[in-house]
Amino acid sequence: MISFTLNDKPIKVDADPKMPLLWALRDLLDMTGTKYGCGIAQCGACTVHMDGTPIRSCVMPLATIAGKNITTIEGLPSDASHPIQQAWLEHNVPQCGYCQSGQIMSAVALLESNPNPDDAAIDDAMQGNICRCGTYPRIKAAIKDAAKNVSTTNVDFSLAKNAGEKA
């Protein structure tokens, strides 16, 4: 039995201690927001936070998370009010959406450690998150907007900006 904190709630999981956190989340706890993409920490789709630091849950055995604080995409506001979520809405970032939980968790962690990242810092922090649809330019723009904390309230859901088009 492994105990840890998941999205601010204490939790116990009865499973093989070698089982990666990803599969405990998805298969045992029915929290499917965290995605499987590679299983070898190459793509970042499974990114969650452990004590505030982004980790790849697909290679993190349950044994190593005992007593830790884990935050998943479900731990962000369900009304999408986090500045990163708001910026994602404003830029209409996702295409298929599959990698976006991981992208968002990496971006949230970046802004928590570096509130004003430049291009190099964004590249560095997001380098481990693959998007096969090609949303990188919008992710970068969204992170910069979130950092500026602009227009994070009253987002108009009806019409997107012409994201991706240069001013």
Partner: protein, 762 residues
């Protein structure tokens, strides 16, 4: 042409849509107490099972595209699969516009597999192209019925009322009545004849042509979006399957006991032997069934399968490509001819020759394939991230030996697809295991499974030869291509490119050259070949776009000028005039001609707007290319820096003419995605095969572009009122040649064999 492959794979081809009688229409749409249901005029008779399977649209009887509930909710069906192109937003945009419903009232319902919708094969960049007119008709029909219902209530002529924002309004009295209040009376109105419908004019569009946010966006940023991998059913088991590394090899033995000893494993099952041709049948293999994914994957490691022989066990991609390159320099089978290219070549002052190659590629969508199935009382229900629900339905039924009517296919969101999820193999696996266990089973493909068990983009060699006159005009042109055909996957016999594949940027070459010969060579297949985003346009556009640049260099003119010279005067090209049976993406040349004016226009547009004709810093340069595919026109300008043997892509600009655009923001996002998809394959995409087996396994050795390699991307959309063309694929083909041309102009190194990382650090 993709649909031709689909049909080859199906025992029964997807039925064409037809009109139905009014009696059938009423029967299949149904009238309910909770509101009125508008069915499609295009439907064929609806199978009986569908009527009982309408839970996904609330309490109403299953309808085809529009349902209006008495609480004001307007359900609009999207019958095409969402894989990132935004179709679950674009299709409803079209219907909602003509329907005059407020966007906030629209609820999008994902259509089950159902022939009544017409083709649901989400491929070939054709969802909007094939359904734009029909979706407008669906919206206009519903609106007219609502207007009629209101007019009857007020006892005024229908001409005195109009619909707007979920209400019908009396022009004279300004009285309003909501769609919700009209739902029931409208259900008693006779649907109008399609030719009596009045459509909006472009200036009145509220949604068509507007950058509406994708409807799944809130779910995608909160982790609530459900993909194929996410489907969870009560009491569900998880399966992981070890499949043959070489096509055709069979399981000779395996250690069931060892796998069963793994904690959490509940069963081990040898999959049925895969028939030949392979089609979409699951590969030979052994499934490990467990209480969770991790346990299944651990049990699989203990299987110790001994694999049998295969006729493909000696396939070596490097040797094979060398053979193609040898073959391609000789005269091949002519598929299109004009004048006498060989005689003219002899009279040329200068001859330019080049061979271009593209390796095998794999789709590698972020979500590996996954499907969940339950089998009960002779019926099967499947949930899958499939591009082709109808084909999945047919294949699952055939594999289970039950009638197609007894298979329900639910389409989840697709975590990327790019053609991989057109194949029913993973859904068939889930269905077979559900039947075997009697429990719900989810089959999870690992990334390694996805990379090694693909339907690959074909390995290819292209030979180009042109003769220049003394004044540097091209007077002779010979082009050849050789690659294993997708058709082999379906017939196990084809050993040369098909007309369908040659219609993808080869037999439809648009240049105005008097003496032309287009030829092919044989190339037998040894691994499963499939379609990857833009298919054979990848290799054909790479070769053609590179060769134009090489000719420009030889003739000492700008590449843009060489394109103009080769394309000649504004004209419509008909490859049939020179003997080639051109497919034109399933469209007639009357509706969608090959228009050189539109191709020149996107090229000029991107050059002017990007500044690709302006001087650059030392070590930096632009490359350009253009291509027509999926009846749309795209040109790309790419700027690179080459320094210390490293290529950095600085900027990419693309101009697209796709005719009428429904959602310009999703066209932009598709262009952005196409640039990055094209860069991935050009810079680093390569699947190699040794001893019949794919050598790569995951994103560590099949690399794709990451953020730090992603350039600034700008998209220009040509304003057009032409019929909508394709969008998902046409952006990809011109990317690779624009990149390698830029590299050449930056440092003088011409890359003719992709990927670029064989020559440079990327």
């Amino acid at each position: 042409m993709i649909e031709l492959f689909q049909q080859a794979a199906d025992n029964a081809s997807i039925k064409q849509t037809k009109s139905v009688s009014r009696r059938d229409f009423l029967k299949l749409t149904g009238m309910t107490t909770s509101g009125f249901v508008l069915g499609s005029m295009l439907s064929v008779s609806l199978p009986a099972w569908a009527h009982g399977n309408a839970s996904h649209v609330g309490n109403n009887t299953l309808n085809l595209f529009v349902t209006i509930e008495t609480n004001g909710r307007v359900n609009i069906v999207c019958h095409r699969s969402e894989m990132g192109q935004g179709i679950r937003t674009s299709i409803p945009q079209i219907v909602a516009d003509e329907l005059c419903v407020a966007w906030k009232d629209v609820h999008v319902v994902q259509g089950l597999a159902n022939e009544a919708y017409g083709s649901q094969n989400t491929d070939g960049s054709r969802s909007i192209r094939n359904f734009y007119a029909k979706m407008r008709e669906m919206g206009a029909t519903a609106r007219t019925i609502l207007e009629q219902a209101a007019a009857e209530q007020w006892a005024v002529p229908i001409a005195d009322v109009y619909a707007d924002d979920s209400f019908v309004i009396n022009k004279n009295t300004k009285q309003k009545i909501s769609f919700a209040a009209l739902a029931e009376p409208a259900s008693k109105i006779k649907p109008p004849a399609p030719d009596s419908l009045i459509y909006k004019s472009k200036k009145d569009f509220k949604y068509i042509g507007k950058p509406i946010q994708i409807i799944d966006l809130p779910d995608m940023v909160t982790g609530n979006a459900i993909f194929g991998q996410d489907v969870t059913l009560e009491g569900m088991l998880y399966a992981s399957i070890e499949r043959n590394p070489v096509v055709g090899s069979k399981v000779e033995s395996f250690d069931k006991a060892a796998a069963m000893k793994t904690g959490g494993v509940v069963d081990v099952y040898k999959m049925p032997e895969q028939p030949t041709p392979v089609v979409f049948n699951p590969a030979n293999g052994v499934a490990v069934i467990a209480t969770n994914t991790w346990a299944a994957s651990q049990g699989r490691k203990a299987l110790n399968i001994k694999w049998g022989d295969s006729p493909h066990k000696d396939h070596d991609s490097a040797e094979y490509l060398a053979q193609l390159n040898q073959r391609i320099v000789g005269k091949g089978k002519t598929i299109r001819q004009g004048g006498d290219a060989y005689a003219a070549m002899q009279q040329s002052q200068k001859k330019i020759v080049a061979t271009y190659t593209v390796p095998y590629l794999v789709h590698a969508p972020m979500e590996p394939p996954a499907a969940t199935a339950v089998f009960k009382d002779g019926k099967c229900e499947v949930w899958a991230c499939t591009q082709t629900p109808q084909n999945t339905q047919q294949n699952v039924a055939a594999a289970l030996g039950i009638a197609k009517e007894n298979v329900t296919v639910n389409v989840t969101l697709l975590g990327g697809a790019f053609g991989r999820k057109s194949k029913a193999d993973f859904s068939i696996e889930a269905a077979l295991l559900a039947k075997y266990t009697g429990k719900p089973v989810k089959v999870i493909w690992s990334r390694e499974d996805d990379i090694r068990q693909g339907y690959y983009h074909s390995i290819s060699s292209q030979y180009f030869e042109a003769g220049l006159t003394a004044d540097n005009m091209v007077n002779a042109w010979i082009q050849r291509t050789a690659f294993p055909s997708i058709s082999w996957t379906f017939d196990g016999a084809t050993d040369e490119p098909s007309d369908g594949e040659l219609s993808l940027g080869f037999g439809d070459m648009p240049f105005n050259v008097d003496n032309l010969s287009c030829e092919t060579h044989k190339a037998p297949a040894h691994i499963r070949i499939g379609w990857v985003r833009s298919v054979c346009n990848i290799q054909h556009a790479f070769a053609q776009g590179s060769f134009v640049d090489e000719l420009a260099h030889a003739a000492r003119v700008p590449t843009q000028k060489m394109w103009h010279q080769l394309l000649g005067d504004d004209r419509l090209v008909n490859p049939k005039d020179q003997g080639f049976e051109y497919g034109n993406y399933g469209e007639t040349l009357e509706r969608f001609p090959i228009d050189t004016k539109r191709l020149k226009n996107v090229l000029d547009d991107v050059v002017t707007k990007s500044g690709a004709d302006k001087p650059t810093a030392n070590g930096e340069a632009w490359g350009i290319s253009a291509h027509r595919s999926f009846v749309s026109y795209v040109a790309v300008a790419t700027k690179v820096r080459v320094k210390d043997n490293k290529v950095t892509v600085l900027e990419m600009h693309s101009s697209i003419d796709a005719g009428t655009v429904v959602n310009p923001d999703r066209v932009r996002s598709q262009q952005e995605g196409s640039m990055i998809f094209g860069l991935s394959l050009a810079m680093m995409g390569e699947i190699t095969v040794k001893e019949g087996a794919v050598e790569q396994s995951n994103y560590n050795d099949y690399q794709v572009l990451r953020m730090s390699q992603s350039p600034l991307i700008t998209t220009y959309i040509v304003e057009s009122d032409a019929i909508p063309g394709g969008v998902g694929e046409p952006g990809t083909p011109p990317v690779a040649p624009s990149l390698t041309n830029a590299i050449f102009h930056a440092c003088g190194k011409r890359i003719r064999d992709l990927p670029v990382n064989k020559h440079f650090t990327v």
